[in-house]
């Protein structure tokens, strides 16, 4: 629980180093701009600004880098909503309803929902962190491959929410995606499906593949349109509508809370991060929503769920980094490097001896989330103007940036080639009504599924009963099954109520008919 004396000391650090707050806005802008470019990752943005932080004092350097991290957490959702191109894998679930809202001319509101969900859940994630940083570190240490495999399976449950017209095509698309995700060398050292191409040893790069699959159906089809949005009225950019979206987020506290909890827990697991958290939060929100049929067609709850998980995952991964000294992903690895450059090593002893500093870092992240609201509104106002530019100008520019973004992933031409090949795959799959989102989920989770399945198999010696020795895995599976059972029960109850209502209407209609016949 929270240490009051250390907390007061942390407030002291915060207010005596007000000068370092000046780094929040530049950090947020760098994060927002970089992450809005498809293919340019948060890690890359932080790596570029890392040398600058060497010349700052410790607290200012951490404030600047964590601001970049906070800004980048939201920035990826802007191209996801406006153009269906997720800036990073963690914004993938945002495209489902965010882009659909844009197509309906509700891009201002969608961006408002995403921004406010990001802000609130960023704050919520860090507030929770203040209280649970130590117990959370204990939980993370108990997570093994079986638990990770359970999390990956939970992520795959999203497939049930993708609602393809043909179930078999959805399942084939997912299986195909998983197989594509396993190409290359697996954890046990076996090399499959590389066709002798060295680049494929590391597998198919998910970012170029994801952009290619999503770009095929959307970007290329814009060639015959004059603007991204057809209706002139829909191309309006309005701060009032953005704020309306922001305010609308408050109507869904349950969605925000669920997304935050999923985000913080999954974000805390090293190597998993927000790329699965947003999928699980989306799937769980859709599964439990009464209006689940409207998900994927522009339901704001879909945007809020995905963004809340992404924002709070940031707090989760910071917890692991601060408490254990284990980076959850590339961005926290850069933060770890920044700590070390200032001769500070995060970990259990850091928490024990420097608790006020840890609290000050967390408190500053809360301030950053609040400032993000103001900076974010300005950023999305500028970015939204993309819908007002004619496609003949915007389309070549987006395609060039996306292609160079895929080159930026590894600095090899294989990135742009993967983008192009997956554009063709995406085109053919869309043409025959296969859900491309299922392929993307498969590619994103395929490698993790195999790795954790393999490790679980090796640990258990092939004994499936081993799962009973892992309370964490049992808890995850239990929550997953409970969620599925509750949904099935809820759907059944809803169907029964609808059937009763229909029968009552029919009886009323028959009585009316009988009355008319009796009178005549």
């Amino acid at each position: 629980m929270i240490d009051i004396a250390a907390f007061q000391e942390a407030l002291g650090i915060m207010f005596t180093s007000v000068g370092s707050w000046g780094w929040i806005v530049p950090g947020l802008i760098v994060g927002l701009v970089f992450s809005a470019i498809p293919g340019v990752s948060i890690t890359m943005a932080m790596a570029i600004v890392l040398p600058m932080s060497l010349y700052m004092d410790f607290f200012s350097a951490i404030v600047f880098l964590t601001s970049v991290y906070t800004g980048a957490g939201f920035g990826g959702s802007v191209p996801a909503i406006l153009m269906n191109i997720p800036g990073s894998p963690s914004s993938f679930a945002t495209t489902f309803d965010g882009y659909a809202m844009s197509k309906k001319g509700e891009h201002n509101e969608a961006l408002g929902y995403a921004l406010f969900a990001s802000t609130i859940c960023g704050i919520l994630g860090y507030v929770l962190l203040l209280f649970v940083i130590e117990p959370l570190a204990d939980i993370v240490l108990r997570i093994g491959p079986v638990e990770m495999f359970s999390v990956a399976i939970w992520g795959m449950l999203l497939l049930g929410s993708l609602g393809s017209k043909y179930i078999t095509r959805g399942l084939l698309a997912a299986a195909f995606g998983i197989l594509l995700g396993t190409v290359g060398m697996n954890t046990a050292g076996f090399i499959r499906g590389t066709m002798g191409i060295p680049t494929l040893l590391d597998g198919i790069s998910p970012i170029p593949a994801m952009i290619g699959l999503l770009a095929a159906g959307q970007l290329l089809s814009l060639a015959s349109k004059d603007y991204i949005l057809d209706a002139e009225g829909a191309r309006k950019v309005s701060v009032r509508l953005i704020l309306k979206g922001c305010w609308g987020t408050m109507k869904y506290p349950g969605v925000l809370l669920r997304g935050s909890i999923i985000g913080i827990v999954i974000g805390a697991v090293p190597g998993v991060g927000s790329s699965i958290g947003n999928l699980i939060a989306y799937a769980e929100t859709k599964r439990t929503a009464k209006d689940s049929a409207t998900f994927g067609k522009g339901n704001p709850k879909g945007v809020i769920a995905a963004e809340s998980a992404v924002a709070s995952a940031e707090g989760g991964s910071m917890a692991t980094m601060l408490a254990l000294g284990i980076p959850g992903g590339g961005a926290t690895a850069i933060l770890l490097a920044a700590f070390m450059m200032h001769n500070i090593v995060p970990g259990p002893s850091f928490i024990e001896t420097q608790k006020p500093m840890v609290y000050a870092i967390i408190l500053n992240n809360i301030v950053q989330a609040i400032v993000l609201l103001v900076v974010g509104i300005g950023f999305i106002y500028v970015a939204s103007n993309v819908v007002r530019v004619r496609t003949r100008y915007i389309l070549p520019a987006i395609l060039v940036i996306a292609t160079l973004g895929t080159y930026a992933v590894s600095g090899e031409i294989s990135g742009p080639i993967t983008l192009f090949l997956f554009s063709l795959v995406g085109y053919v799959l869309v043409r025959y009504e296969y859900p491309i989102a299922a392929v993307v989920v498969g590619i994103l989770l395929g490698r993790m599924l195999e790795t954790e399945f393999l490790r679980s198999y090796q640990l258990s010696g092939g004994n499936p009963l081993y799962v009973f020795q892992r309370p964490g895995a049992m808890a995850i599976i239990g929550v997953m099954l409970l969620s599925l059972a509750m949904t099935a029960w809820g759907k059944r109850k809803q169907a029964k109520a609808e059937a009763e209502e229909l029968a009552a209407m029919e009886r009323l209609h028959q009585q009316e008919l009988a009355g008319i016949n009796g009178r005549s």
Binding site: A175, Y393, P396, A397, Y457
Partner: protein, 167 residues
């Protein structure tokens, strides 16, 4: 096609796609098994491949549609589903899309041959022309701006070298 007294239409395009996917999955399974049949190698790949092949078998009948007199119900306008996006169907639109896709293909394969700068410039000119821009000054000026901003921007951003001919 006539079968048991009923007339069927065959969607050859879809049938080819299912066949191609089944062939790729079967090849991948074969390739994986040829590397090793150790459980550590085939633990996930083998069951998922078999499942995918089973799905292909179940999808094949969907490529055959029985011809009946009743016309298909038209889809409601505005019922857009981004998880099942629709592609343009008009000939002119399809040609534009194919041309842009082709230009993208030429662009990515020429990056390392003619240089990123020239490839970006030529792609921009081609893409703008395909999208309907005909004014030469606009074509050249905008493409030049995109090229300069993209090259210098990405050179500053990424730690990898980019092969350029002029810039």
């Amino acid at each position: 096609m006539r079968f048991k007294g009923h007339v069927y239409t065959v969607d050859y395009g879809h049938l080819s796609l299912v066949g191609l996917m089944a062939a790729i999955v079967a090849w991948y399974l074969f390739d994986t098994r040829s590397v090793s049949t150790n459980v550590n190698n085939i633990l996930l790949v083998q069951p998922v491949s078999i499942f995918a092949l089973l799905m292909c078998a179940l999808i094949v009948p969907q490529c055959f549609k029985r011809v009946t007199g009743a016309a298909a119900e038209p889809e409601k306008e505005g019922d857009y589903d981004p998880l099942a996006p629709k592609l343009p169907t008009e000939r002119k639109e399809v040609i534009k899309m194919a041309l842009l896709g082709g230009a993208l293909g030429v662009f990515v394969f020429s990056l390392n041959i003619i240089g990123f700068d020239i490839a970006i410039f030529l792609f921009c000119v081609a893409a703008m022309a395909i999208c309907g821009e005909r004014r030469p000054l606009h074509l050249l000026a905008f493409s030049l701006i995109v090229t300069v901003v993209a090259i210098y921007g990405f050179k500053a951003l990424i730690p990898f070298p980019m092969f350029t001919a002029i810039l």
